[in-house]
Symmetry: C2
Subunit: 189 residues, 2 copies
Amino acid sequence: MSKRVTSRFAILGLLTLKPMSGYDLKRFVDEAIRFFWNLSYGTIYPMLKRLEDEGLVLRKNVSRENRPERSVFRLTGKGRRVLSEWHEGDIELPQVNDEILLRLFVGHDVPAEKNIELVNRYRDKLRDRIRHYESIEPESLEEARESRHGLLSHATLRCGILTTRARIRWCQETLEMLQAQLPDAAGEV
Amino acid sequence: MSKRVTSRFAILGLLTLKPMSGYDLKRFVDEAIRFFWNLSYGTIYPMLKRLEDEGLVLRKNVSRENRPERSVFRLTGKGRRVLSEWHEGDIELPQVNDEILLRLFVGHDVPAEKNIELVNRYRDKLRDRIRHYESIEPESLEEARESRHGLLSHATLRCGILTTRARIRWCQETLEMLQAQLPDAAGEV
DNA sequence: ATTTACATGTAAGGGGTTACATGATTGA
DNA sequence: TCAATCATGTAACCCCTTACATGTAAAT
């Protein structure tokens, strides 16, 4: 279902922003959308080749002096058509495998302190992330006023912020719950 | 990173709840934790075989009259040790590929109405999910008072509730943003 | 009589990751 | 000089999904 060649549409979709090389795509994903999408070279280059063979993208070799040659790809009309079919299609809630929830769920015979430590570490990582999100939010908001893509990009950032905050709040709540169960917390009510 | 045989620990972990067959595991996952974990038969049976070969689980063939024979698996001491090593290990924020965010991010040249429709459909699915979560919450809360595992299980449900609610709120916010950009919304401020 | 639930597995294929190979250029 | 950045790709491997194969028994 959600497995049907999703990196295909990711690459096609990103090429609507501007023509890019495999290297560009990798950098773009890592810099701009790494929190909700990732692509590795081992996915990118074979997929670009495949999209080229299918006539969905067009390769243009660009050589500049004193720089390695690049293969820059742009969408073809056919590529755009395939993309818009994807945009038409239905969206499913993804089936995720969420490690922290699994760990907690089967955490009944590890020491309670371990579970607390786990949620703590997890919360710390979420906090790092939210700090980053919030640091780029003002700029994102400006871009949202300036272009259609800026607005949509801002929406994705907002999603990151809202869901990460929710998870942090969940950590808080869960830590309280777990600490209340600690043997030496018996008298502290 | 997060790819290192995670179904291995899922199966090992679930077997701490009670000894189970492959069929049991599948049913359990589908019924109890499908919102944060999934396993297919094609994963379960080969993995059980492998865990057996490695001495992490023990197979016991159980035949009951008028029923097909079952292979019920229980954890071995070694299995428990491997599991607790996993519990010790660090947790990473998973790298996800989040289709709705990708679609929005590259949605700048699809009609604005399509983006709105997308978020709407997505919100509807989240609402179905939250309705389900909330319907099982009271029972989960009771179980939380009754056992250690009940408490941890409840924590996972709470995570689902909080993050799903956050996403629904994000949909609302995003819909408002997108609708405000609609050409015929110009005079409606 | 037929569908559903019980029950265990395999085979093919897909999608993705990591690591490697290669080589130029730039900056510290 | 050495690391980092630019740049493209491949190969091995892994995990997982889907679909298939097979068969019994209970329920409708």
